[in-house]
């Protein structure tokens, strides 16, 4: 396949492309899923992180 005789190598070539395709399909299917409200913990974390970065 694709000029490569060893199935262990063309399978790797194919697996790379298929796994990237899976990423595209997964991302599109879940594009609008997972939205969450901002909790107090999220906000505190971001403020602490920002303060630490600014100090540094």
């Amino acid at each position: 396949m694709l000029g490569i005789d060893d199935p262990q190598v063309w399978l790797a070539y194919l697996a790379c492309i298929l796994s990237a395709l899976f990423c595209v399909v997964y991302g599109i299917m879940n594009w609008n899923k997972g939205d969450e409200p901002l909790h107090a913990e999220d906000k505190k974390w971001a403020q602490d992180e920002k303060a630490a970065e600014e100090q540094l």
Partner: protein, 533 residues
């Protein structure tokens, strides 16, 4: 290949774009944190590109691309794992939980996440120590990759040592100018430049060799050119896997593919990236960009690296395979190929691609080393957890010491080291941290003692394996020779089996067995860790 006018133009355009986007980003919003504070989503591509730009560096493109030129396209299994584990597993399973638990526990570094999850200053301090001591191996690999490309691009102006110093100076300027903060738009620009650069490289490489199938067939046809030394180790040609169970097979599968493929999950500078996004929605969307980006980075590097052999053999100027042209130094193969097979303008653009890739990775590495030293090790162990005004100063000291050790290693490490040094660090991280990290996120029953025992087991077994079993390292380190008058205590195949194959399973079993036998963490703490899950 030195055209000063063209080089100046390319660099000026690049700097102008960086300055414009930096200014635009500064006016609009400083970084991902401002978005999070304001409760807004970042652009879907930005988190993934910033993760990708931190993940992929000169180590992947120059170092592992060179290894592909030596070992062949079987290395594409690493690209598969880079996508399957480095994006799919890392984003969908580890990333979402890391973000939530990091916020719940107000943890800001990878060791701090482990330390707070297991209510153990020791866990945090020990993780900080391991990262601070061993990450320079990886940062030196990135530095060497950049220096090798500069050295090859400007042969009349630079030698390797000068190139190391120049890159170190660029990184210092970048870090002290605030580059460590990772402004979103410049991060995304660096990722975008890397993407376009690698795409052009792939298209030109295949076009030069007559198309995809023709290029692969040509590579298959030169199997008889494999050097005798490599053939004796199991090399069967660049489009075939090495002979099953041969020394080369074990190195490719256990060290390169498994070590780096699994180790990515426990890279401290990558794990914290997930904490800077607002919701799982951004992680879901980031999977799209992440998957394509990694395919274009490592996939292209390994394909082009392997095919460089056909180019060099066909070109009358060279007439030899890549490895012979660089006197066995695999780190020089990708720079040599790009400098000769590509037009000058592309070489300069690609140089910026590589410097972008290296800088985004280097700055996050130095940040991880600095916080590992100041925040995790010093504050938790020496100051017994009391936050102090010295923490910031110590973090800065940690960054400076990290840069210094990296530069010294850049000068001292042997040739053909980029991929090996990267794989050593990734493997060590996986064996030491993976069971504790996965347990932290997925198993409420994992105990503090279980985590400590597992980290110790993974670290010690890896160390002993390098010192007394894995011949390449045990021979170089010399302790086995000193104590037992022989380079290794083991016989083949153990002498070529990477420590991750032994240390990770042991660390995993220890984590489970010790956790089952020891006292669980308080219920209210576990509930706080897993809130909103």
């Amino acid at each position: 290949m030195e055209n000063v006018f063209l080089l100046t133009m390319v660099v000026l355009v690049y700097l102008f774009m960086i300055a414009f986007l930096g200014y635009y980003g500064y006016r609009k919003t400083n970084n991902a944190l401002d978005y999070l504070v304001a409760g807004r989503n970042t652009h879907p591509a930005v988190m993934a590109l910033s993760y990708g730009a931190t993940f992929i560096s000169t180590s992947a493109i120059v170092g592992f691309g060179g290894v592909a030129a030596m070992m062949g396209m079987g290395l594409l299994w690493l690209t598969f794992l880079n996508i399957f584990i480095g994006i799919i597993i890392a984003f969908i399973f580890f990333g979402k939980r890391t973000r939530k638990m990091g916020h719940n526990l107000d943890a800001h570094t990878f060791p701090e996440l482990l330390g707070k999850r297991y209510q153990s200053r020791f866990v945090q301090g020990f993780a900080g120590l391991v990262i601070f001591i061993f990450m320079p191996l990886y940062s030196a690999a990135v530095l060497i990759g950049a220096a090798r490309f500069l050295e090859t691009t400007f042969p009349n102006m630079l030698n390797f040592n000068v190139a190391v110093l120049i890159y170190a100076l660029i990184i210092c300027a970048y870090v002290f100018a605030g580059g460590i903060k990772g402004v979103m738009y410049t991060d995304a620009l660096q990722g975008a430049i890397m993407f376009v650069g690698m795409l052009i490289l792939l298209v030109m490489c295949y076009a030069n060799l007559g198309g995809v199938t023709a290029a692969h067939q040509a590579l298959t046809a030169i199997a008889d050119k494999v050097p005798e030394k490599l053939a004796a180790q199991g090399h069967l040609g660049w489009t075939r896997m090495p002979a099953l169970g041969s020394p080369l097979w074990w190195t490719m599968v256990s060290t390169i593919v498994m070590g780096v493929g699994i180790g990515v999950l426990t890279q401290p500078q990558l794990a914290v990236r997930f904490m800077t996004v607002k919701s799982n929605k951004e992680i879901n969307r980031g999977v799209v960009t992440g998957g394509i980006f990694i395919l274009m980075m490592t996939g292209v590097a390994y394909i082009v690296g392997s095919l460089s052999n056909v180019y060099f053999l066909r070109n009358p100027k060279f007439g030899q395979i890549a490895l012979n042209l660089t006197q066995g130094n695999v780190d020089k193969i990708m720079p040599l190929y790009i400098n000769n097979a590509m037009p000058t303008w592309f070489v300069y653009v690609f140089m910026l691609t590589l410097l972008s890739a290296a800088m985004s990775t280097s700055s996050s590495q130095f940040h991880a080393m600095g916080t590992a030293f100041g925040r995790d090790l010093f504050e938790k162990i020496f100051l017994k957890g009391k936050g102090s005004k010295h923490t910031v100063l110590l973090t800065r000291v940690g960054i400076l010491v990290g840069v210094l050790i990296t530069v010294i290693l850049g000068f001292k490490l042997p040739t053909s080291i980029i991929a090996i040094a990267t794989a050593m660090f990734f493997g060590l991280c996986a064996s030491t941290f993976l069971p504790a990290y996965a347990g932290a996120l997925f198993w409420k029953g994992m105990t503090k003692t279980g985590a400590i025992a597992s980290m110790f087991a993974g670290f010690i077994v890896t160390g002993l394996w390098f010192l007394f079993v894995h011949k390449k390292e045990s021979e170089a380190l010399g302790l086995c020779q000193l104590l037992f008058q022989k380079p290794t205590l083991a016989t083949f195949p153990w002498t070529v089996v990477d420590p991750i194959m032994i240390a990770l399973p042991i660390s995993l079993v220890v984590a489970v067995v010790v956790s089952v036998c020891t006292t669980r963490l308080p219920k209210n703490h576990i509930e706080a860790c897993f809130k909103y899950f």
